[in-house]
Point group: C2
Chain length 337, copies 2
């Protein structure tokens, strides 16, 4: 250990308390008990912790590295976001270090540690499905590390957020289907625990209500995998009164829906029109190419990175804000009647 600077992380580990407790104890914060303060300060002394010299110089050493934590690198969505981030990062002469949480809270906490020990200048995060305790992020914020959340954002934390307005995206998609004469509109949702599912469903319902179309619970299906979406779509087609349009919540569900429609030799869009939240690359692979509400991956990445660099350049003294992007509707043959 002699060659490496002691950090608050080391002290926190030895004492079995959180980093933010150590940080606050060292700053004599009123929320921390005197007993804890004494323990932390004794340990800091014993380990020769040097906040002003070593840690500060470390922090001010420009690593020129931005850290990124994503839940997954599956081919859909996040590669686009990373592309948008990298354009910004590279043109400023920085490098990007990517870590996956694999939807695990424990791994996400570990990822934060790795990025800190690598002295990154700022962090971009899309949180895992399992993350509820946010102390690994609040500690970063208290430690004055620039951080921007995007897409999968935590609730109840004061920080920058970059998002797409999913409610209006789904709303516009459904209005578009209505405008081409469809009234029996189904929706295929993905993971029900994700905010995008509930937001897109609420946009769907809002549009139906506006046009006085009754909500048919049979038309609301869920496909957490391509196979599940395929099977659920087959079930839809067997209804006595099947839908005349389907809204797919993601690329994954779209691929299952299209397989089921191909197999049943459904005419698209005459019999059933199709629209989804799909990446451009993939929506054009189908026959016919499918209309899409652009999930704006590249833009999200670009804007999150720009905001992060703004924080870095202005020494992180900016009021947190939420940036809500409007998504574009791209009309292709699957909804052209």
């Amino acid at each position: 250990m002699t060659n490496k600077a002691i950090t608050i992380i080391d002290i926190a580990k030895i004492l079995g308390v959180s980093k933010s407790t150590v940080s606050r104890a060292l700053k004599d914060h009123p929320d921390i008990s005197n007993a804890t303060k004494e323990a932390v300060q004794m340990m800091a002394k014993q380990l020769k912790y040097k906040p002003n010299a070593v840690a500060m110089s470390l922090r001010h050493k420009k690593s020129k590295v931005i850290g990124l934590i994503v839940p997954t690198l599956s081919p859909f969505f996040f590669p686009s976001v990373i592309h948008g981030i990298e354009n910004e990062v590279n043109k400023r002469g920085y490098n990007l270090m990517i870590l996956q949480s694999n939807e695990s809270y424990e791994r996400e906490v570990l990822n934060v540690d790795i990025l800190q020990s690598n002295n990154v200048e700022g962090i971009l995060v899309s949180i895992s499905r399992k993350t509820e305790n946010l102390s690994h992020f609040t500690a970063l914020i208290e430690d004055n590390t620039p951080i921007v959340f995007f897409d999968r954002i935590p609730k109840s934390i004061q920080a920058d957020m970059v998002l797409v307005d999913d409610i209006s995206g789904a709303f516009n998609a459904v209005e578009h289907l209505i405008s081409i004469g469809k009234r029996k509109i189904a929706i295929c949702l993905g993971n029900p625990n994700l905010l995008i599912s509930s937001n897109r469903l609420s946009g769907y319902k809002k549009a139906l209500k506006k046009h006085s179309i009754e909500i048919n619970e049979e038309f609301i299906i869920t496909g957490q995998s391509s196979e599940e979406a395929e099977n659920e779509t087959k079930r839809l087609l067997e209804l006595t009164n099947p839908p005349d349009a389907i809204l797919a919540i993601s690329d994954l569900t779209m691929s299952g829906i299209m397989k089921a429609l191909y197999a049943a030799k459904i005419k698209i869009p005459e019999d059933i029109a199709v629209i989804g939240f799909c990446e451009d690359t993939f929506s054009q692979m189908y026959n016919p190419p499918v209309s899409t509400i652009d999930p704006m991956g590249i833009e999200i990445g670009k804007i999150a990175a720009e905001r992060l660099f703004q924080r870095i350049h202005e020494n992180n003294i900016l009021e947190p804000k939420t940036i809500n992007l409007s998504s574009r509707l791209i009309i292709r043959d699957s909804t052209k009647v």
Copy 2:
């Protein structure tokens, strides 16, 4: 700098020589001139470089992190490889740190530095298109860092390599097309500088020769983007004697080929049969689903990671070997007559 160990990288930077020169100079290697040796040894003394104490202790500290350098995270191929790697890395309680070279030699060199300074226990690399000078890798090998190359491998370096046998993959695809009665077989190549292009082309030619089918240069087209593949396919269709089958070298070219075939309302496989080196997820998105020579992304990742852990556990004293995987042919409706 007082709190951070001086490394050979620091000495190399100050003197403007390579890391491997510094490493060899410190070991009194006969290839290094006496003048260089003196300069390096003086600088090492001046900076208080401690190879045996500090560097070794750093090296032996288990970071439980594996570094990965890929040329790109574009949705095709590498996400599968990463998936295969992560399964192995995670089940051993390790974490994966991913860096992209973005097909830049300079960025790849920087990535190696970042991984070293993060004290990774081993490195997996698929090299950039631009990489010719390999000294950043030879220095790693001389420094006894476990390393395994996969897919895009360097020539002329003694190290572990994991590859798919592309020649036999293309050969088998063409033989399959011949077996269903096709004789006018086209191939759409990608980037001509990549080894996969020349290997797959040579497998294609080998199969045609074996079956005494003359090679028609008009049938060998190149699509470095989906659009280029689409336009080149349109050109093929306008030939007085168009092909009756097409072999696509990648997902990207396949998407362009299929767009052109859809637009021309070609019957697949009756008029033109289609086969490609495509990821499973994508090959099933087309109508009809396309036959594929599995690019084996997950397997490549799995085997490369297994080999790396073998190196780590056996203290890196293994003879370098090349592992050549045979790819599978998956037959779907695009070649079922």
